[in-house]
Amino acid sequence: MSDLDAYRTQARAWLAANLTPKDPSKVLRAAHGASPEQLAADRALQKVVYEAGYLGIALPAEYGGQGLTKQHQRIWNEESARYAVPAPGGIASHVTLGIVMPTILAHASEQQKRAWVPKMLSGDELWVQLLSEPGAGSDLAGLLTRATLDGESWVLNGTKVWSSGAMSADFGVCLARTDWDAPKHKGLTWFKVPLADDRVTVRPIREINGSAEFCEEFLDDVVVGPEMVIGEVNEGWAITNTMLAVERGAGAAQSGATPAPSDRRLAPDLVALAERRGTSGDPAVRQLIARAHINDFMQAQLTRRLGEAMVAGSVQPVVASFIKLGLGIVQPQRAAAAMEIAGRGGVAWALDDDPGSTASVNFLNGRIMSIAGGSNQIQRNIVSERILGLPREPSPDGDKPFRDVLRDARSWGKKT
């Protein structure tokens, strides 16, 4: 038996002995933030997984990992897919391990990595992103949160928004402006910010689907030391590009944490809807189901191919924008197809009509991937300019000092 086969056997046995299988009826219900008890229990369970050596499988030992290969990680992903693997704080855990940790590994100092990464793996620290602002979403580099040097320390002021899972988290990585005389992309710096600080206020945002997965944060004179600066001062944009590429699918594609292409069951949610209405023989409904299933399959193939190419180094991480744009196009179509199949069952349903209520929730969530993490339009700019090499749109703000950039929409086009 090969080393990998032995590893699989061992992982399988450990999973069976220590974790419980997933309960499919309990997936992704409204996330109003975990209760403190639930959060503590999930953190404790994550520590059990970590101490057994199943978190950070392919990371070096000095960062708290096991120093094994990506194949070992892939085996764990496959074997653990059927189990309820602990994710303290839900989305906060995914952000910590799936987005923040890879970015920290790529850009933080050696000392920071040794100090911070093991605590992320063990569940002791949950980290989220303090990135978008009320006035800076697609135009992220136009953000207004400021960090001002006071002696050796930095003083942060501003408002951040759309931070997934911040109500459960311990720290945020925060992008702030440190030079107002530089052009917009050249005066930004990353900081680690403790969310428990008295001068940080975290408030959940209620979303169109009624749940509250995201938060806004108010930073009022938050003071952090120089050891909390990630990367170089004023060089934060390159780190941002890494983080966004990871968020858009580079991380998942490279770690093998993508939907298994072997899962070829015909769009189960749509089939359930059609069978409930007795329309699974309707040719038009069958076309909708097949189209959705084919799009799902093709997206998985795209992710797999690009992930392999990224691992092999034959393409740049920027191709993750293909994965993100693909989801952003397909998911709204899929949500609309589900509502069409659901018919009136998607707009009014009995308490026990799960397919109808699922279709309605997905309908409301249909635009998440086309807006969050860089909208479809931003991905199209990235694909066309950085992958296809098409010329840039002329930019009225890219080169001027940020303090001179337009902020009042009504003065656009007027001579100053």
Binding site: L266, P283, A290, R291, H293, I294, N381, S384
Partner: protein, 377 residues
């Protein structure tokens, strides 16, 4: 097509490109648009020297693949044929080769496979009903009359029937699909050429009026599996052809958008156009991943190869047609001229999407293959 090519395959691909660019570049394919058969036999024989028609023929029968993965090798060629809008019976001949290699009698293999591999014998696959639809042979009856077997009916939309020496026809015997070999010049065979949207292709209806064959002409046992296998080979190669044509057209379009100036800027700097191209780049990238998945599933002989192949075909057919339309839109007036090559690709891509099951048909097939009850078939 993003296949992970071996060194041998890479070399073969380069050789194939050089051959096409010297023998029949796109500009010269135009000279064949009014050619009755669409290609010259001498050219076909030359192309066969590179191995184009030998991939799916076993070595013992005079063939051989480049890498030991013949479907992938043939897909490499097919993609280039689409990229350079090459004429000729490549897909049909490879389908016939695969069918005879898998199930042909010794006599059939001896009589045809060597000739196919060498480009000396032209064979095509006649599978569709009079409307061009898949019918698993229902539209052509094979009847046993005493010691004779008699074929009566029509096969529609047969590729390169007018230049073929042999037809592998899909018929029905006692309710079961069956494939049989028919000489194109046999008494009772009448080839009626159709006018084809794709200027690089030739198709015809073939009427079979009491055509007499013998048991020696029957390929393998009756049943749906051999016919399905032939279909999968045709669809996979057709997808690769569409990918090649789409890539060439899209590359031309992106280059044009970088060079054409309007309103004092390259038109490719306008988001109204670059966003269209970003979407098309994504769909093409995804289609390529699908084409690779389909070719690999067929090559490996996966249990669900038919499902994967139909998923890829439905997706590729739709997105390639949209891509061609958007490329025409981005070109504007120049793309609407006969002299511009754009329409050669637009036609090729549209033809391909109808040739071996259209996207709607493949989607219904996906439902059926995946076991969704209640369908019409």
């Amino acid at each position: 097509m993003q296949l992970d090519l071996t060194d041998d395959q890479e070399l073969f691909r380069e050789t194939t490109v050089r051959f096409i660019e010297s023998e029949l570049p796109v500009s010269r394919t135009r000279l064949l648009h009014d050619h009755e058969l669409g290609y010259e036999r001498a050219w076909l024989r030359k192309s066969a020297e590179l191995g184009w028609l030998a991939m799916l023929v076993p070595e013992a029968d005079g063939g051989g693949s480049i890498s030991g993965a013949p479907v992938l090798d043939a897909a490499i060629v097919s993609e280039l044929l689409g990229r350079y809008v090459q004429p000729g019976p490549f897909i049909a001949m490879n389908v016939v080769a695969s069918a005879l290699a898998a199930r042909g009698s010794d006599k059939q293999r001896a009589e045809l496979l060597g000739g196919i591999a060498a480009g000396e014998t032209v064979a095509t696959w006649a599978f569709a009903d009079a409307a061009g639809n898949w019918d698993a042979g229902a539209g052509l009856q094979l009847q046993r009359l005493g010691s004779e077997l008699v074929l009566t009916g029509r096969r529609g939309f047969v590729a390169d029937a007018a230049s073929a020496d042999w037809l592998l026809v899909v018929a029905t015997l006692d309710g079961s699909p069956i494939q049989v070999l028919v000489r194109a010049d046999a008494p009772g065979v009448r080839v009626a050429p159709l006018t084809c949207l794709d200027l690089s292709r030739r198709v015809a209806n073939v009427d079979l009026d009491r055509v007499v064959i013998t048991d020696d002409d029957v390929v393998g046992a009756p049943g749906i599996d051999p016919v399905e296998s032939a279909l999968l080979h045709a669809v996979v190669l057709n997808c690769a052809d569409t990918i090649g044509a789409s890539q060439a057209l899209f590359e031309t379009t992106v280059a044009y958008a970088k060079d054409r100036v309007a309103f004092g800027r390259p038109i490719g700097s306008f988001q109204a156009l670059k966003h269209v191209m970003a979407d098309q780049a994504l769909f093409l990238e995804t289609a390529e991943a699908g084409a690779v998945a389909a070719a690999e599933a067929l090559q490996r002989g996966d249990d669900d190869a038919a499902l994967v192949v139909s998923m890829a075909a439905a997706y590729i057919g739709d997105v390639a047609n949209d891509l061609a339309q958007e490329c025409l839109q981005i070109h504007g007036g120049i793309g609407f001229t006969w002299e511009h090559d754009l329409h050669l690709y637009l036609r090729r891509i549209r033809f391909n999407s109808a040739a071996y099951g259209d996207p709607t048909w493949h989607r219904e097939r996906v439902c059926t293959l995946a076991g969704l009850g209640g369908g019409a078939t």
